[in-house]
């Protein structure tokens, strides 16, 4: 027997996709140039709320190079953009689902709402013509504020006169009330989870073409899930035959959730491409991205935690208002419910939890999933209130957490999830070591000597990744499946092409998935190619979101690989004249157990495609297998973060002095990629805590509509992260034992930062600092507290 080759699992293999990204040979949607392509430009509403009295496009239509102009009237007979999750209110009524037209019909409902689509020979001509379109607006008052939207006299949609989309609740209210009645201590806090603008480095773009030859459409689009785009677009909006539409999402420069959704622009382009008879291209300008990409977060919450005399949590009561924006984006409705309230147990064995969620419409851009999607909001609620309770009880916040950790698995939480595994004590203990909590007192004294305030904050998060299974999700209102599909195509020479329904837009799937397949098949990574992002190539796919790719998409691939190996054994048994049950597969070789009779993987592949010596009477030729995988449960990554900040009370400047993270992602395939994901997530979470905040004024104008006013984190805003992946508790229900790591950093970090800041400001009696904790806001908080 050969020595088993070293496993590729757990190795920091360099990312094979980086060569093309770093040398400028990636192919992004804007790089796609189609024969005779024309250009689109959207006339957008400058008002948050207005009735369109009339649109005069005559002069624009006559302008040089203009091919066509479409307005809401032209698309009124088409469907609206659908919402993929039905949430029912507590009274049993379904959520309000106003039509989301691809071009505004008679009313505009947020600044940036599309009013007309101009198609011209060049972008410059389309833009010039846009300036000639005269829109007669009757301006109407705008509803902007999340907390008070339901009290406004103005309705965003007639079908929701109080602007409430749904009133939803989860948990046992009576049990929570009873627990509060006997509580020894109650901690209560109201706070805002600030609205964020995603800002992927590549703006959204599309290029749509209609072919008269076979009456088919091809759409290139910046999407995290091209099959879902195709399904929603064809079945719900345009009424096109699904099999006649190919959607390609080539290299995509980041998404963070914002490219999950079906947007108006690409849908309008597909529709218009047949009318114009030319391919139509559109690439968002950055200012359009700010105005029209689905935003994230935007919750207003009051949370109350009840504790008994021993510091045990006995109940949690949460009341949240979530802003949906002007229309329901593709998964908007499930974010503040299914992906939020179900996470409110956190890492703690709180026996009774109740959460009410009121979703409201406002005259702002639609809000949907953004890195973490509901789980950062939930973690923020839990970790802020727990840390505040410790402060009020004068307890060590780590000790209070330890006292309440879930320690026995599987654990059924009172808000509907069953955690399969975890070890919260391990990550907390380890993060205290790598953060050097022991040395904190000395560092605090040193800061003090410089006139600076120092604070330390914890966050122990739980995450639910790879939302599943489909049947339970369906019972909860999902209108889509939550499986993933994969195909393993073995070529006659033994080379392998893997087709996956997961989409990679920065996550490094081409490397990680290759590692997994190479490890399973015992062949070289270079002999494996990973294909994704094209409905014309990939059998099906639900795409990439919710940290699901490896746990769900990777498992589908493994199932297909298993089928390849199973068939390979049959072929090898024939070739080796042995019983199928005697064939073993390891290290890329099919071997008759206990002998040195063997066939290499490539030899078996060749036999499958050149079936001269082959059991044709019993076995089909070829070696190509598909698999679909629908998980039985979410996966539950968890971790502990510690942030240490230094605050200059004279200016309000908050400097993150150190940030330590210890995450349990179960098994890890590529530690380098995982660490990179954590770094990125931490940067975004710290961005939310200290820098990023989307602000609309009372008229619904976006104040933070450019990088001059919307602060993204820069490298020098961040410390050198101390990141460690725990040995971990492998997921119990997928073959790799993996959990998902893409969102963890963004989920766990905001409360760690704000807890540290509140700790630093404790001398002033501060209990809360609103995010983003800009220097001005911190200074104001100190001034208010001093009074």
């Amino acid at each position: 027997m050969n020595a088993a080759r070293e496993s590729l699992i757990g190795r920091s293999v360099e990312r094979r996709e980086d060569y093309r990204f770093l040398t400028g040979v990636g192919q992004y949607t804007d790089d796609i140039k189609l024969e005779r392509q024309s250009y689109a430009y959207f006339v957008r509403s400058p008002h948050a709320h207005a009735r369109i009295r009339a649109i005069d496009a005559k002069a624009a239509l006559a302008a040089a190079g203009v091919l066509a102009i479409f307005t809401g009237k032209d698309v009124a007979s088409l469907g609206g953009l659908p919402c993929g999750w039905l949430i029912n209110s507590v009274d049993g009524s379904p959520m309000k689902e106003p039509k989301h037209p691809i071009i505004a019909e008679d009313t505009v409902r947020h600044v940036g709402d599309q009013v007309a689509l101009i198609v011209a020979e060049s972008l410059a001509e389309a833009k010039a013509a846009a300036a000639l379109v005269e829109v007669d607006y009757e301006m109407l008052p705008a509803v902007v504020d999340t907390a008070t939207a339901n009290q406004s006299k103005t309705a965003v949609h007639a079908i929701a006169p109080d602007n409430v989309c749904y009133n939803w609740a989860i948990g046992d209210a009576a049990a929570v009330d009873a627990a509060f009645a006997r509580a020894a201590h109650v901690t209560k806090l109201s706070f805002v989870n600030n609205r964020l603008i995603p800002n992927a480095i590549e703006p959204r773009a599309a290029n749509a073409a209609y072919s008269r030859a076979d009456e088919s459409y091809t759409l290139y689009v910046t999407s995290q899930n091209p099959h879902v785009v195709r399904l929603l677009m064809t079945a719900f909006v345009l009424g096109l035959p699904e099999h006649k539409v190919r959607v390609v999402a080539p290299d995509v420069g980041g998404g963070f959730g914002s490219k999950i959704y079906l947007y108006a622009e690409e849908t309008a382009l597909v529709w218009a491409s047949k009318r114009v008879g030319r391919p139509i291209k559109w690439t968002a300008e950055r200012s359009e991205s700010f105005l029209t990409d689905a935003h994230g977060r935007d919750h207003v919450t009051t949370a109350e935690l009840a504790l008994d005399k021993d510091g045990k949590f006995i109940a949690l009561r949460v009341d949240t208002t979530a802003n949906m924006g002007a229309y329901l984006s593709t998964f908007a409705s499930c974010i503040p419910t299914i992906l939020y309230a179900t996470l409110l147990a956190g890492q703690y064995a709180t026996p009774a939890i109740h959460c009410r969620v009121r979703a409201v419409f406002t005259h702002t851009a639609p809000v949907d999933a953004y890195r973490g999607a509901g789980r950062p909001e939930a973690t923020y609620v839990v970790e802020r209130i727990v840390e505040l309770a410790a402060r009020e009880l004068k307890m060590d916040p780590a000790e209070l957490r330890r006292r309440n950790f879930i320690r026995s698995f599987p654990y059924a939480s009172p808000v509907g999830l069953t955690y399969d595994t975890g070890d919260y004590e391990a990550t907390l203990k380890r993060v205290q070591e790598i953060a050097d909590v022991k040395g904190y007192a000395a560092r605090k004294a040193a800061s003090s000597a410089k006139g600076l305030l120092r604070g330390l904050g914890y966050s122990c998060y739980i995450e639910a990744c790879g939302i599943a299974p489909s049947n339970i999700a369906g019972a909860l209102g999902a209108r889509a499946g939550l499986f993933e599909a994969g195909e393993v195509r073995v070529h006659p020479t033994g080379k392998v092409t893997v087709f996956t329904g997961s989409h990679s837009h920065g996550q490094g799937h081409e490397t990680t998935f290759s590692q997994v397949v190479a490890d399973k098949l015992g062949i070289a990574m270079d002999d494996i190619d990973i294909q994704h992002g094209d409905t014309g190539k990939v059998l099906f796919g639900m795409g990439t979101y919710g940290s699901r790719s490896l746990a769900v998409g990777g498992t589908a691939i493994i199932k297909a690989v298993d089928k390849v190996i199973a068939k390979g054994k049959k072929i090898a048994a024939h070739l080796l004249e042995a019983g199928e049950s005697d064939i073993e597969f390891a290290n890329g070789e099919f071997r008759v157990a206990g002998t040195d009779r063997k066939k290499a993987f490539a030899e078996v592949a060749f036999a499958a495609y050149v079936p001269h010596n082959y059991p044709l009477d019993r076995l089909e030729p070829g070696l190509n297998e598909n698999a679909f995988y629908d998980p039985t449960n979410f996966t539950y990554p968890a971790g502990s973060y510690i942030c240490e900040v230094e605050v200059d009370p004279a200016t309000g400047v908050v400097r993150i002095d150190r940030f330590a993270a210890c995450d349990d992602f179960g098994n890890v395939v590529n530690p380098m990629i995982v660490e990179g994901q954590v770094h990125g997530g931490l940067a975004q979470g710290i961005g939310q805590a200290l820098l990023e905040g989307c602000v609309y004024n009372a008229d619904g104008q976006l104040i933070t509509g450019s990088f001059s006013d919307y602060a993204l984190p820069r490298a020098d805003d961040l410390p050198t992260f101390v990141v460690e992946t725990a040995k971990g508790t492998p997921c119990t229900h997928n073959p790799l034992g993996v959990k998902g790591c893409g969102e963890a950093g963004a989920i766990g970090s905001p409360p760690a930062v704000i807890n540290a800041l509140v700790d630093a400001l404790a001398p002033y009696g501060v209990r809360d600092v609103a995010m983003p904790a800009t220097p001005y806001r911190v200074w104001q908080t100190i001034q208010t507290a001093k009074r």
């Binding site: 004279a650 200016t651 820098l691 602000v695 104040i703 933070t704 990088f707 001059s708 006013d709 919307y710 602060a711 993204l712 800009t774 220097p775 001005y776 200074w779 104001q780």
Partner: protein, 267 residues
């Protein structure tokens, strides 16, 4: 972006001639403000007159007790200039802290002060040092130069040729960056000439201005305590997402204190 005709004269005289010949022409220095404004459709000049070919506008030299910097000298050149570093290190540091590397390699002193962006750094240095702005036809004292929000004493067609900076005994500039743009939310330039102290502020008002209460206090005694407890009036200061007028007024005193500390070489 609308089209503009492009001209690249090699002398100040030719540039002036082109300016008068073309209605609605604009001078192009480093292009760090005008080009983005044109891209955004905020400006649509008929002609751009690029001064990069006018070599006499570039570079710096010592002229008696002053450092004279040509209008077309880039921020990077000033930051790295031995003359600036040795004579007025605070000015070299100011230039080295403008924008990012790309901006510093293109942006110029003349372009910056002609634009009088309320959050630009250079106006604080020009005003704080009591510099003299030289144009093709006259000289303008810094105190008379900055008139308001993107407004200066320059007349139509007037071309800045250089700025003459008196060399102070001590000086320092402290900038508090706006978190998103990293322009100065407030920037304070402090300079001491003999007993006299000038304190100029950028970012806080419609244009750079002198903080008289600080000047008086620091002229009496040039130390950090002189800044303590000074209340800067907030009446005419800017308010936006990143700071109220009160916050800016507060920052002026805090930054002035830090500038004095730096100027005195105290850490």
């Amino acid at each position: 972006m609308a089209t503009a005709s492009y001209h690249r004269p090699v002398s100040i005289a030719d540039a002036g001639k082109l300016l008068t010949e073309n209605d609605d022409a604009r001078l192009l220095a480093g292009g760090q403000s005008i080009l983005p404004s044109m891209r955004l459709g905020l400006l649509a000049p008929s002609a751009l007159i690029d001064l990069s070919g006018v070599l006499e506008l570039k570079g710096n030299r010592i002229d008696g007790k002053s450092l004279v910097i040509g209008a077309m000298t880039t921020h990077a050149m000033v930051a790295e200039s031995r003359e600036a570093q040795s004579k007025i290190p605070a000015l070299a540091a100011l230039a080295g802290g403008i924008g990012d590397r790309q901006v510093r390699n293109r942006g110029t002193l003349g372009g910056s002060i002609a634009n009088s962006d309320p959050a630009a750094d250079y106006p604080a240095g020009v005003l704080g040092l009591g510099a003299t702005v030289r144009t093709a036809k006259r000289t303008i004292a810094a105190d008379d130069f900055f008139k308001g929000f993107f407004e200066t004493a320059l007349e139509p067609g007037e071309i800045i040729t250089a700025v003459s900076f008196p060399v102070p005994d001590r000086a320092s500039y402290v900038k508090f960056p706006q978190p998103a743009s990293r322009f100065a939310l407030v920037g304070v330039f402090v300079a001491q000439f003999g007993k006299a102290v000038r304190v100029a502020v950028t970012g806080a008002g419609a244009c750079a201005f002198r903080a008289k209460p600080l000047e008086e206090a620091l002229t009496k005694k040039f130390d950090v305590q002189s800044c303590d407890g000074l209340v800067i009036p907030a009446d005419s200061l800017n308010t936006d997402l990143f700071g109220s007028a009160q916050y800016r007024a507060h920052l002026i005193a805090v930054l002035a204190r830090r500038a004095v500390q730096q100027a005195l070489g105290q850490s």
